[in-house]
């Protein structure tokens, strides 16, 4: 049964001020409980703003460190989950349910990637 890493990409600039509404947090909490009870959720967390992040690059033998914010980025990874699902179709179905907890004014893209076994 493969594991999947899902990265939640949000447009930080257009994200609602004040963050997720209490209703959203409640729906999300209920869904997370359901996913956990289904034995599917292994790990999940939100990430701090990208402005507080750094990029460490190795390029042609040179290391460089750039601190956020990164002006050119539109969508940033706001959170992630690691789930164990029977196949990608199941991983996608759980992801759809997660996205549907959000209000219509959100724009989010969840990238679902299978974790290499071994």
């Amino acid at each position: 049964m493969p594991r999947f890493l899902t990265m939640i990409r949000v447009d930080e600039k257009n994200a609602p001020e004040g963050g997720p509404s209490p209703e959203l947090q409640e729906r999300m909490g209920a869904l997370l409980e359901e996913i956990t009870k289904a034995g599917v959720m292994l790990d999940t967390a939100g990430l701090k703003p990208v402005a507080e992040g750094s990029r460490v690059t190795w390029d042609q033998g040179e290391l460089s460190v750039t601190d956020g914010p990164f002006t050119e980025t539109k969508e940033v990874i706001g959170g992630y989950s690691i789930i164990q699902a029977k196949d990608k179709a199941e991983a996608i179905e759980w992801t759809k349910r997660f996205l549907k907890t959000h209000e219509e004014y959100w724009t989010i893209t969840a990238e679902v990637r299978e974790i290499e076994a071994g």
Binding site: K37, A38, G39, E90, I92, E93, K100, A117, G118
Partner: protein, 419 residues
Amino acid sequence: MSPSPEHPRRAIETVFRMEAPRVIAGVARIVRDVGIAEELAQDALVAALEQWPEQGVPDNPGAWLMTIAKRRAIDLVRRRERYTDKLAEMGRDLASAPPHRDEPADPDDIDDDLLRLVFTACHPVLSAEARVALTLRLLGGLTTGEIARAVLAPEPTVAQRIVRAKRTLAAKAVAFEVPYGPDREARVGSVLEVIYLIFNEGYAATAGDDWLRPGLCEDALRLARVLAGLMPKESEVHGLAALLELQASRAAARTGPSGEPVLLKDQSRARWNQMLVRRGYAALARAQATASGRSLGPYALQAAIAACHAHAHTYEETDWRQIAALYGLLAARAPSPVVELNRAVAVSMAEGPAAGLALVDALAAEPALRGYHLLPSVRGDLLARLGRAADARAEFERAASLTRNGRERALLLARAAGC
């Protein structure tokens, strides 16, 4: 980057597979027969395949499937009652409260039904094989073909096993309920045993050349996690979940590049999955917290032993004294020659091979270990450490002749040749 339309049939079948255990459980409470409940759940899938492509997937697909299946269940009960004309009054009661399509299903009710299904599928009136097959089918969502491949049995055999298991449950009028009486502990034990059997079938395939069939381990692990959510106050349920998380954390390190088994002491600990290790620790902590003063059960004790290994950065740093002590507790709680053999290994690591060999030699006459390849394998290891090469070689060769696992046999013969 354009959104791709999903294949509707595939998406619907996926939703069904995810919801099926709960739908079957909810319906089984009405019809009191898991076989019929499974058929009614299938009817709901057919209805979804007909209606969802036209009308779209409902907001709460699980509740939709449940409502359809329950309606059919109530129709069935009514028809039966009309036929016998005895329970007409009860039929009216059921008819007066049909489930409404938009009615949110109470999650606690669903959990209760799911737990009833767990206890029914793992009922002691069924053989261990039947319990394994029925649990994988009804709760693990595996098809008969998938189960057959997993347990290395022909598909018709597994299909028969499942049919017969359902018939046995009906014939013996096994109640669809969660046991709360004096037999609860034994019934919980029966459930945990099934999950553990499934895991072990995957972890060390006793026959064939696959050392590890990870699919089954993961099915078992997922079921253990589900159980921990359904029975959060049962210490041993958390103990089993902890044990399986910790054992699964070593899966990637347990086989070499060509699929050969790698023993614990030779495993690259950098390949142990630290996320599963942490989940194992957390589940073990829950097992300890819910034991509430009582001593830990056998699964939690085995998990505590696995946690000792996980804590050690190298094999040499392992706290063998602690492991030997935990095996002592395990031997007192659930005495078995296999536990005693493991205790001997731990003692040999803590106090030296001679002390371990004394314990192993005391087991030599144990009838339960006759033909068990790990006895000569452990003895060979201890003899090798004591410098008795010829004796060690003979024991490894004997162990190789006893194992049914091809890869393990090769490993033992290699050890014999190395003496």
